[in-house]
Symmetry: C3
Subunit: 490 residues, 3 copies
């Protein structure tokens, strides 16, 4: 409603001086648009709806500190006076981009990297670089144990009448599976001439492309992809603030965060009421712009109350408000110190944040003081809508759930150790046999889901929807399997 | 569109006498807001968007019978003249609330109970008290058989090299699992002093808090939680009428109602068109305010046609339109007479509405006459958009599905009885072993999903999505398990 | 916003000549409405919101070629001068409809068939008739192998202490399961007198009703149901263009297309931004009306750029843009030539598009030239928003995924052949035993999901959400089952 009022009031004003306020597009960008409006109309149309298309650096800089969306104090000369169009990004730093190609007199690169974005948003890039997500490519690829698991999932297994011939991991398969979310490393394999409507043109041949994973490594060497959450050419804060963005990678049984959010009270209120909320306002005002949090609210956004008192600073280092890591590993554990987890070694010498039986690799994990600080950062946001008693009660439930799900995983692991000791399964690869995959599901699916359900109050994901029901059933199925084989081996 | 027209027409009128129409907030409520606008801005902002914040009891009472949202004829003196603010609810009946605490000179209680709501909405509370949902806490906790099942899901099982040491059920675990939907019993454990921005203050320490389950028992002893469906401080009829609210507890594999609705024609039309519907209009006008039903339409709402002829009376006793209970139990059966099911005994002496082999505990279930009445209540709503032939055909399919899913459960149960008789499983607890949990899934997941799919025309949930595919596969898996063990025991 | 501007500008104009522009309803339709506005208010209200209710054939014909929604050049006399009301459809071709009945002097039929729609939309009906979907009833019912599978899913299995007594397939069960999506064959079983508010009236008794499946065969013999995607009485292009429509049949584990779309970048942008898009504009303008595709965009719609240059012609023959069939069968394969697949025979004489070990029944499948044509039709749409390099890279990933998932299915099939050869399962019915159903899930669930995930970039459905994780785990479980039985039989 507010939007409509403002809109009507401004209608006449706008029409009066429409020409004066027309966005100033640089000559270079205009030249791009002249062709691409018909060659790739979707991109151009998307950009035309963006804030980039209507805002000059001068206007962006003139905003108050709370309203500002850029994090530089001086405007780069190349950006001055114009809105942010095609050329302002795709012509950035041409020498550092291995995918730069000659295109109608310009040195263009296909992939706008986080280094390109950092020309105007350096603070955001720097913060983001400390995330597990920014390091998601190397965290997976440089961890030999994880690679064993990846290969046992993605390789093709040809049955040969007695067992399986296993294929080598394939580049395209990795793109379609793990690296779709983790990000690929994009490499320039050469250049190719293509026949186009405008004659023969040269384009780079890119390995690992297309990809929009969070830890993508771009041809200029920069790490972490901004387009994962601010997609395509609208770069919309609304899209990033809505939970659908996070759901792209956080919805499956291994990370059911979005599904749990959906059935939480927060998710219910979001789904019912978000049509009336303001997802574009910076700073984001609690109670005014929205009345229930999305993922971004609790993990990233700059939040204020209606007096513009800051409740939480914006952070693209998303673990600033996270004391524990709940998912992805065998046991929940204190958050890793560094976003780069490939350096971690547990007391068994394995690259894991805990041992197989749950002891923490403490040197690589945040200490108790830091855990308290981060939890308080989160609780402070909760208290914008909930009493201290509510908030404390909520986290008591979460802590108990972490303790119990870790214990239920330990039981399954003890059974697996028996199974390996009795040569009922072969532990040279602990991820490839059916019974081993049941063990993995104990922690990767059911313990994860149960913990996340406690973290976000999404009840059935803690019970019948990959929750305690499956956690207790799966444990008994592993036991059943073990007992049967032991009986037969006698 | 209609909204916008009315809005534009009223723009000038509103601006002319804005001051005269400003909501009258009681002094007590204003005092709350003065601090809480910055301490808990989310709550205050939420309330400001509510009907409570702009409506006095006099205005609410002056509505026509069809438009009225309150169910009292005389205005309580304490409520007169003001809008319904913080004090009007949180200061209600202080002596009956064990969580009442002294707060800046006021006797405040944290939890607004259904008895508090009933000051203005007594009919709704009374109706709701007859639901299974209102009794969901005691129906679960006071039924020893259900408690066995709950414990076999929620207890921690520590593997001890030969079997499992089972933990006692834990209070926090119950909060995070079954009672998240069923509701907790909230008890005052004492009071605590907290250091706050406004000095040291005293607050109640609440066991079982936070919780928003439908059958929550509040510290004043009142049963059933209104906030489950009318959440937080907006108390929105729009939220309650949208299906996301019901999805919070009715989405998992045990009760996939929302997922089935989503893929039904009703759900498709809702998802595609609801942005143009009026979810705030009372009475709710079929064909005008909306063109496809949500959960509330069929189960609760007051429905009229465009002449304001009543098609269905509002009822918060949601089983008024339900002849059968389709989910949650071993067999579908006529709806229980009372919302309190802990009193039921079957012919085996068990607290179940049917025997293990499917015979009804008829004394506790509604008779055929009442079943016909309730089904006709529902059919009458269907006929607002569908011909009699359509409606009858739809229910023929449902009846056949109930018969067949009950038969497929009986087959699984007969197999389980064999398994127990042959000591392949231990029936001292019929819910804890892997094979027993497979049997539970036969009825709790697959028969349920198949029946609900027939009830709401959500096809794949009757086939491949926890439907007949799994129903037939799971039966054969139980048979496979049984045959293998029998072969080995020879 | 655009909508609002236009709206405000037209407000005065509209009010000035409201009477002149009132829709002209035929006398026959008005007579229907006079009663049905109170008897079935939902239907009438729905129709009143439709384009049919405000558009005469003359107005529809006067549109430019690109804007036109009808595909006839001459207006049928019976349709001239009026908007399209009840009578214009329900009184069409009365003699060909076996469900025609006398109703207050009119020869009315209940079910508006695709032949009725084809009076004004013949091109759309003709195109649609070439789809697998239009033939979905007979493709299922006339294929004896598929019928074996259907019966092994839908029949009731009564346990008799040694095995199972299998029921005959039941008509109502088929309606509630496979035929809910595939469509029923609706037959007139007779006529019945019903007591109504308006006295005793006669109505047809319809077998197979209600149903909205895509291949429904109506009582006039016409094949294929328009209401599946253009539901009820609003016949909305907006509903058909939104993905919720497709999700009704394409969401389960056998066809998880919608779930994959939801977590794709396309789906994320749709969910976040579609409130601002124009789903009613014809032709559909890329970058202007929308900035990310829905199902309809890629598979059906007429697409133009902002200069109204056509990017893709509208087609209701949805396989015009599909080179491969990814789901539903044992192996992915080139698209069938004909929408009628019951004529196909593989080299084993079975009615399948491939042999059990994957060789194509090439005579019945499109050749490589046609595959290239169709893939280029699709790629052309992709290139509206993506570079050629992006698009080629995307399809390389899909092709590799098809190859590997087919190989993983072949491994499972080879194991099954061993199982059948060793009499561990009975291949007289290859779909009814537990281990056979595991084999079916290898291709029907996991290979399907993995391929669709590659086709639509929905990562976790290619990994942990019924993807490669389950594909590799299930293969090993079948192997485990086989090894255990072989060990026991020694």
């Amino acid at each position: 409603m507010k939007t409509i009022i403002i809109f009507i009031i401004s209608l006449f004003a706008i029409s009066a001086n429409a020409n004066e306020n027309a966005p100033i597009i640089s000559d270079e960008s205009q030249e791009c648009i002249d062709c691409h409006a018909t060659i790739t109309p979707g991109i151009v149309g998307d950009w035309e709806k963006s804030r980039h298309a209507i805002t000059t650096m001068e206007e962006a800089s003139a905003k108050s500190e709370l309203e500002k969306r850029i994090s530089i104090s001086e405007i780069p000369e190349s950006m001055s006076g114009n809105v942010i169009g095609c050329a302002e990004c795709h012509l950035n730093n041409p020498e550092s981009h291995k995918d730069t190609f000659e295109h109608f007199g310009y040195s263009v690169h296909t992939i706008v990297s986080s280094d390109d974005c950092a020309v105007c948003h350096p603070k955001e890039q720097e913060e983001y670089s400390h995330n597990l997500m920014a390091n998601a490519y190397s965290n997976l690829v440089d961890n030999p144990l994880y690679q064993t698991m990846v290969n046992s999932v993605t390789s093709t297994q040809m049955y040969n009448d007695s067992g399986f011939d296993i294929s080598e991991p394939n580049h395209f398969t990795e793109m379609a599976s793990c690296l779709a979310c983790h990000g690929t490393k994009i490499e320039v394999e050469g250049f190719v001439e293509r026949e186009t409507e405008l004659g023969e043109l040269s384009f780079p041949v890119l390995k690992g492309w297309p990809n929009q994973g969070v830890g993508r490594i771009d041809p200029d060497g920069s790490v972490g992809s901004c387009t994962s959450c601010h997609p395509r050419h609208e770069f919309s804060i609304e899209v990033a603030r809505k939970p659908y963005t996070c759901s792209q990678c956080h919805k499956g049984p291994d990370v059911p965060a979005y599904k749990i959010y959906e059935v939480s009270k927060h998710g219910n209120i979001f789904s019912s009421n978000n049509k009336d909320w303001d997802f574009d306002h910076v700073p984001w005002t609690i109670g005014e712009d929205f009345t229930a949090p999305t993922c971004a609210t609790c993990h990233i956004s700059l939040l204020v109350d209606s007096d513009e008192t800051v409740i939480a600073e914006r952070t693209h280092r998303m673990n600033d408000r996270l004391d524990k890591r709940l998912f992805g590993l065998i046991y929940a554990h204190p958050h890793p110190v560094s976003g780069n987890t490939s350096i971690i070694k547990n007391n068994e010498g394995l690259p894991l944040p805990t041992s197989l039986t749950g002891e923490y690799a403490s040197d690589y994990l945040i200490d108790e003081v830091e855990q308290v600080t981060r939890r308080n950062n989160m609780k402070n946001i909760c208290r914008s809508c909930h009493s201290s008693g509510w908030v404390d009660g909520h986290f008591d439930v979460l802590d108990k759930t972490i303790e119990e799900t870790n214990a239920m995983t330990l039981s399954a692991t003890k059974l697996m150790i028996k199974i390996w000791e009795n040569n009922l399964a072969d532990n040279s690869n602990i991820f490839d046999e059916a019974i081993e995959k049941e063990w993995v599901e104990q922690w990767l699916f059911y313990a994860n889901s149960t913990r996340m359900s406690a973290a976000m109050s999404g009840a059935d994901y803690g019970v019948f929807a990959d929750g305690r029901w499956q956690l207790s059933k799966n444990l008994r199925e592993i036991h059943d399997w073990y007992e049967l084989r032991m009986m037969m081996s006698k």
